[in-house]
Point group: C2
Chain length 677, copies 2
């Protein structure tokens, strides 16, 4: 085949976008893409220095485009391309800036070459991530100063960035000025600038630089997690978590607020502790990814209102009492240095907005990630901590509230309760006939009645998911009545039902031969009451929002956070923690708060989205709603006569006895359908 | 007189603006002013808490306004007014926010009640100052939080500032957030916010606050001056100056740049030194005015390029060699903390822009203050330092250049030269017949031939103005020929003309009985050459700009800075330092750089003006202009045959001898018209 005569213009079609047009022959594929509005990435601005603008030429006859695309319709590979691509690369792979158009061509832009590429998420039903970070890198070649045009080095840099990238009205962080002249000369007048929100230079390096990093930080009362991402590709490079060191000031949120109230300067101690932990985590994930913390240019932060305030250095005492006033309910911008975090000196921090005094930036992040506001179905999103943060709605209307569950679901205020940590009982089954329990502890796979459990080490207590399971199982076994009273009559059936003052208790774990070491764990009447109060509060909050929205049940329920990931939702439904919903539509949202922080890190438009969303969410304060009390009182009992309960009974192994009598064959069904772990 | 019936509207005329209109009866005078666009100040927003909105009611019949204004046309004085005004205040003086309109009224707004009041300057021919500061105080009463509307404290503050003052889109400095909630509560939800450029809250106090302060700082190579101003009234409260401690790194500019070049970290040492001095000066002027430095909210800075760069922490080495690249040629915004200055934590720093690598922010400030760009006449502004910064132009066109005069005018590179300091010879007269000198030294009023001079203490050297006078006087006395050669033939006339190697010198001061103590001061041929080179450079720079502008002489010449204030311009003209100009139009601009810094401090629109001005000034680099060399060579001689010189001769006592022969009666005229001090 001979080369076609050089036409004045050639026809170019880009796939997958389908954008096409007539382009002057001799222009590069990158120039053609820019002219036609095709999303083709570049950092070096088309100089063959970075390899971001890779494309594939599609060879052949394309009837639907009425175009014939042959190998010699692009200029031969340049020296720059030969350097980037090994000899065995597919011959169709080119650098868009080097390949010049000589004839009609079909050009495919692979996903990794799109500036605004999508990040693939594991689940399809959550917020999609487009890589469109707040901080971007721009390479520029800056004209040198001369005696005839005495402009400042900064102005020539700004002019170059405007000329090459269309960045007008840029400003430069003051801290960059001292090294500016040296940086320009060290790079022989070629530099890479990190620009925040297309408005401010926050970092500057000599020469070409293509990698920029960001950290998404999720500050829980118990654990803090950080995720390091490549801001250019969206790739998650490393994650790490550690205990929140504020635990030494108070196990749960309210005890930390109390610490701040009781101890002058206590808030600054807690602020210093959490900042140190976040600093260490960022260093840790950077090290894991082989990245210098100074290359971290952007940080997003989520957390409940108290954690959010303490990280930002805001005393949380106002959150400890009515009217629970936030210092700010809007997204907060700061610099990494303001928070003494490890990062580039110019790195920015973006704290997502809190929704209300008890509904934090974590709930905002969960909502952003779960994206109920993008769906027609009505979603109930529940994030259980010391308070349950509840969001309900769909694309038309969104509501949020916080329910005062207290820390019982976290194992606090439970006689044998503890945090979810190795040694804690997390799964419980009770034989319906013998009332003998079997259980599993965190950190060991075997059940307590399986061989080898003795090697499991000591039982240290029972965690949130364990307490829910044991109470649900006690109910299912008839040990607890629907009104929550431990039935002393069952003592006749098993010595595990024991008198405890004027009430009864259930001996879940007693030290003894063959059961390993550890502490005894009893479930007392007070423990049952604490869980009843907590679950009634959670239910009443959700019920209140459903009233406001005028619905009887949500289409789906998403349980966020560690609690949502660890509990067996069936047991939550048995206890009546959550409103009626088909069991298959009640699922864990995993670490949705962290996912929301990552979305806000990678996509600046998601920041506008969550700010707008938080503004639109109608906040319901349960404490001033009379109906909340009514719902709460109604929800104290364990439900057992509703249609939904009957439905649930068919899915879970619920004895008729618990509901007032055992049906024939009940035991057989139980054995057949032993609740799956 | 009985009160008129309450009309639905009343007619109000404000003087001196003449603004008038129909106002609903019952509205306050302040509301009427706001409605009619009358400039009436208020900080408290009309609550009778501050006394900024004082007005006078004009009583009587005002035919030209067709209005009858009687005492009962305003409501009686309120309790707030009785508190502010003593019993003997004129009864017409009222608070605009308290006085309610009941009938037609003529209201006079005194100058001190105008928000944008004028500051009276000593000279009429300079830039006027309107008080319109970048930082303003706003008082607001913030709604308290409640359970039904869970907005953040910050948002309610921002809403209040928008509602009461129309400040929309405000942001808040991050450093204010930690104390925000406490401040709001400490002030019982009444606060005063300092707002920068109507866009950012930079400080917040509980309750009402009406005083805000700013500092204007002028950093010279030799001395640093600071001026404390009341940002609300424009009043200058205190000024102070001190030696620039950088002198220990180098006496003149270029030796400091050399120090930075030769010593790694030398620039940061000099930066630390100048910042410490500025910090001390701000503390000093604040103390003198009885103001806490934390009440200083805004700071403007001017200085030559090297001083400007060192204060901002920018290494000045690039200014030490071609092409003399500035780090930035635009105005630089920073925070006081960035420069370790004493001020409010949120205080802003505004460094005026440099014009070019040798024409600094001091020249920009001088130009702002002198305002040649507002005049039709063409002004030559000269600021002499190590380099002479020269600005020439009028409202149509502005040019600037720097001439490499070297430090001779500052007394450096002169055998007996020194800085202007006590002990330095600053004035010299030489008897035309005997060649005997008389002189005066800094710090003592008597001339050397007057009684009591012996008590003057030691002569320590000769300063810039002294060296110019002695060389001009030597020329006038015939000791120096027009070509600058010291005429050895004059040794016959006086033993003060002495051989000095192969050349001659003039013994200005020799230790001896009756002449006090001190060092001998000789004027050598090298000294004359140094001044010739310096004055030729200055002249050639001015001449070059005049060429570019196409003029033969400027309409007026303004000499800025200490040099301009100390030299006797007649002698400068005798030596030919400056282009021809009627002597009465050659005047000292005083501390014009400091004045420019004050203007930029008090009036934010002057900042836009100077930024625009600096952008419009055409920069001429003398080093690359061939004509500069030509002018320089031509200007080396001391002029004596031009028309302008003949004219000058009529004003100054110039002997015909110097010009080639003494006319009859010359000596008599000399005696009659002895040059005035």
């Amino acid at each position: 085949m001979t080369a076609p005569p050089s036409p004045a213009t050639v026809q170019v079609v880009f796939t997958p976008s389908g954008k096409r047009g007539q382009i002057q022959a001799g222009k590069s594929v990158l120039e053609a893409a820019q002219q036609l509005g095709v999303d083709l990435d570049t950092v070096c601005g088309g100089r063959g220095l970075c390899d971001r603008c890779q494309i594939d030429q599609s060879i052949g006859e394309f009837a639907k485009f009425k175009i014939h695309s042959t190998a010699d319709h692009l200029s031969p590979p340049s020296a720059a391309e030969r350097q980037f691509f090994p000899a065995d690369s597919p011959p169709t792979r080119r650098l868009g800036c080097q390949a010049k158009l000589r004839g009609d061509a079909v050009i495919d832009v692979p996903p990794e070459s799109q500036a605004h590429r999508q990040v693939v998420r594991k689940r399809a039903d959550v917020h999609q991530i487009t890589v469109n970070p707040a901080v971007r890198l721009y390479y520029a070649e800056v004209p040198q100063p001369n005696m005839h045009e005495p402009s400042g080095d900064l102005q020539r840099l700004l002019d170059a960035l405007e000329f090459e990238w269309g960045l007008s009205g840029l400003r430069c962080d003051f801290h960059l000025l001292p090294a500016l002249q040296q940086t320009l000369r060290a790079g022989d007048w070629k530099v890479t600038a990190a620009v925040h929100l297309d408005s401010r230079i926050i970092a500057l390096w000599p020469g070409l630089r293509t990698a920029a990093y960001g950290a998404a930080v999720d500050i829980g009362s118990t654990t803090i997690a950080a995720h390091l991402c490549n801001l250019a590709t969206g790739e998650a490079l490393a994650s790490d978590g550690r205990m929140n060191p504020q635990i030494r000031f108070g196990e749960d949120l309210m005890s930390r607020v109390s610490y701040a109230m009781m101890n002058p300067g206590g808030d600054t101690d807690m602020t210093a502790a959490v900042r140190e932990a976040v600093r260490g985590l960022i260093e840790s994930v950077a090290a894991a990814a082989g990245v210098d913390p100074a290359e971290v240019l952007d940080i997003t932060v989520v957390g409940n209102p108290v954690m959010h305030h303490l990280l930002l250095g805001l005393n949380p005492v106002e959150l400890g009492g009515a009217p629970f006033a936030l210092a700010t309910d809007q997204a907060t911008a700061a610099r990494a240095g303001d928070l003494q975090l490890s990062a580039n000196r110019g790195a920015r921090v973006y704290a997502l907005p809190c929704i209300a005094g008890h509904v934090g930036a974590d709930a905002a992040a969960v909502t952003l990630s779960e994206a109920p506001h993008q769906r027609d179905e009505i979603t109930l999103v529940v994030d259980v901590g010391t308070n349950a943060e509840i969001v309900l709605g769909n694309r038309k209307r969104m509501l949020a509230a916080s329910s005062p569950t207290g820390p019982a679901f976290e194992g606090a205020q439970i006689s044998g309760g503890q945090r979810a940590a190795p040694g804690a009982i997390e799964r419980v089954r009770i034989d319906r006939d013998t009332l003998e329990p079997r259980f599993r502890i965190i950190g060991f796979d075997a059940w307590s009645d399986e061989p080898g459990f003795a090697g499991a080490g000591g039982v240290t207590g029972i965690c949130g998911s364990g307490i829910i399971e044991v109470i649900a199982e006690m109910f299912l076994a008839g040990i607890i009545r629907p009104d929550g009273i431990i039935d002393g009559g069952m003592a006749a059936k098993s010595s595990r039902v024991q008198p405890d003052g004027k009430t009864w208790r259930y001996a879940l774990y007693q030290r003894g031969p063959g059961a390993g070491e550890g502490v005894a764990v009893h479930i007392t009447q007070n423990d049952v009451r604490a869980i009843q109060l907590a679950k009634a509060a959670l239910y009443a909050g959700a019920r209140l929002l459903m009233d406001k929205l005028g619905i009887d049940q949500p289409d789906r329920i998403r349980l966020a956070g560690a609690f949502g990931a660890h509990i067996d939702v069936k047991y939550a439904m048995v206890l009546g923690m959550l409103p009626d919903c088909p069991l298959e539509h009640v699922t864990s949202a995993g670490n949705a708060a962290g996912a929301g922080a990552i979305i806000a890190l990678l996509d600046k438009t998601a920041r506008l989205e969550v700010e707008d969303l938080v503004g639109r969410i109608h906040k319901v304060e349960t404490a001033v709603e009379a109906k909340f009390q009514d719902h709460f009182v109604e929800a104290l009992a364990i439900p057992h006569k509703t249609a939904a309960y009957a439905n649930l009974r068919r899915q879970v192994d619920i004895p008729e006895a618990a509901a007032g009598g055992e049906s024939p064959g009940g035991k057989q069904r139980r054995q057949r359908r032993r609740v799956a772990r």
